[in-house]
Amino acid sequence: MTDINAPRGPASPPKPAVRTARPSVMQRAAAERTQTTIGRRRVVNVVMVGVTFGAAILATLPLIFILGHLIVAGASSINVDFFTQIPKPPGEAGGGMANAMVGTLVLILAASAFGLPIGIGAGLYLAENRGTHLANAVRFLSDVLNGLPSIVMGIFAWQFLVKPMAKFTALAGGIALGAMMIPLVTRTTEEMIRIVPVSLREAALALGYSRWRTSLVVVLRTALPGIVTGALVAVSRIAGETAPLLFTVLGNQFWSASLREPIAALPLQIFNFAISPYDQQHALAWAGALVLIGIVLIISLAARFATRSRFGLGGD
């Protein structure tokens, strides 16, 4: 170790004695400025923290109000009958929305059967062929489709499905809802596949996997939790759609699970009961809204759960 107090070199001249350490003029001025502004700065800080905190609370308030009101107005109508009975004629007490729940389930299944394979396939194509003109065009159009108002989708389905068949059917509703799922599923699938590391792809190729098999078995499999989440988010998005259903499935006061008949659906039933003149039906509409929110909530929770895969990406 060198002695830091030792003279550096033979030629170093004796330094002038340093007087007591005092801040320079500039340093004193800066310190004074800080003293005069520190109070104001503290206030601004508190205000800004308060504003963002308030915004965070306000962001959740609508949901809390809606849920609270739904529970107050609708919970009293939820009973066994609500889940097992079909609606009674106007004015009669009792009845439920069992057929509408079954109808919503059928519509979700039909929409998924139509929308998921197309969406996932398109997403896989986009991820594996990024940069090509076709991929860029598809990506752009799918973003446009994603922003398409659902009422437009309903009119479209009416024009090209309901009118030619001369009948309102659950199938037309399922296809309209499925078409709304496609862009969402496509984009989430693409994003999820993109984050699969190249090294995994190479590992599979180096083991003698062909390209399509690598895509299907390794890439898609690794991205699966994310894709499932995307699919469930898409399902919860369409579960509450009303506008496309007005033009396609019409609604039904009776039991029906057939794809070739008009079918009941929760959002439609809520709409019809809410605009009816009977208090009894208003209460059922509130209850239906509560159940619908419950279904969407359960799907969202399922999506959360699906992402927690045992062998998920991550780790080291």
Binding site: P197, S199, L200, E202, A203, A204, L205, A206, L207, G208, Y209, S210, R213, V218, T222, S309, R310, F311, G312, L313, G314, G315, D316
Partner: protein, 282 residues
């Protein structure tokens, strides 16, 4: 200091039959499969040429190390041996790489069957996000082994060959991502071995590992070299000296010199080789 161990590491532990009798240069060992011969092999990424007329013999049942500064083409050449590099858009090559006399770039050879014969281990270990067992079973399953007991057998044998069995035998069904880095890398070696390859390519397999894990990998390569051809790219010259029988020095896309490892490190013929191994550049 480190150069003293040059060429002694392998020999201390005693070699079997003398290799390449009469010559220090690598010559094909016709008694075993897995001899590689490159003939005027050049490679381009689009307009940029990465390899210039590489001609080299990589003998079976030996460890050949590729050394050289970053960007010298050693990884490109390694990845050309199983045609993984050809997947990059715009890549093309001329010349030939022969595996036991057959040009691997000939149209009649399916890259899928080539990659079954030429396994690969990457710099960054890349186990699939699956169980330890499934990782090793991946190759045999895809390459036509259907019987469950047979796959069980292959998995155990491959893990033993990769010196990993004792550490994982009680947790085969757990996620491979829960293993340590060194264990994951040995798992990747086991996964490659499960395909019963003739050649094993390793692209800087220990560069991200601590010294203990590195030592395990090196010991493993020493064991494995009696069973198959091993080609290893490394930035670490001591590692090349420790594990390899032959060393090839690449510089600016050209193969400068290839020789018996001891010869290359002690009496290099080329000035550029000497400059590199003595640390004057690179």
């Amino acid at each position: 200091m480190s150069l003293q161990i040059v060429g002694t590491g392998n020999r201390e532990r005693g070699t079997e039959a003398p290799r390449s009798v009469g010559s220090q240069f690598p010559v094909p060992d016709s008694r075993h499969p897995g001899n590689i011969q490159a003939k005027d092999f050049s490679f381009w990424y689009g307009p940029k040429q990465a390899l210039y007329d590489v001609s080299i013999t990589i003998p079976a049942r030996a460890v050949t190390a590729f050394i050289g500064p970053s960007g010298c083409g050693k990884s490109t050449f390694l990845r050309s041996i199983n045609r993984l590099q050809g997947l990059i858009p715009g890549a093309r090559q001329t010349g030939a790489i022969e595996l036991d006399g057959e040009n691997i770039y000939s149209a009649s050879l399916n890259p899928v069957s080539l990659r079954q014969r030429v396994g690969m281990v990457f710099q960054r270990w890349n186990p699939f996000p699956k169980s330890i067992y499934d990782n090793v079973a991946y190759g045999p399953r895809i390459n036509g082994t259907a019987s469950r007991s047979k796959i069980d057998e292959i998995v155990e044998q491959s893990l033993r060959r990769a010196a990993l069995w004792d550490e994982v035998k009680d947790r085969l069904r757990q996620s491979a991502l829960g293993l340590s880095g060194g264990q994951q890398q040995r798992l990747c070696i086991a996964r490659a071995l499960a395909n019963e390859p003739e050649v094993l390519l390793l692209d800087e397999p220990a560069s991200a590992l601590d010294p203990i894990a590195t030592q395990k990998i090196e010991e493993l390569l020493y064991e494995l070299r009696s069973e198959l051809t091993i080609v290893i790219v490394t930035h670490n010259m001591q590692q090349a000296a420790r594990v390899s029988d032959y060393t090839a020095f690449f510089y600016l896309g050209r193969l400068v010199e290839v020789n018996n490892t001891g010869q290359l490190f002690t009496t290099p013929r080329e000035e550029r080789t000497e400059a590199y191994i003595t640390g004057r550049f690179g």
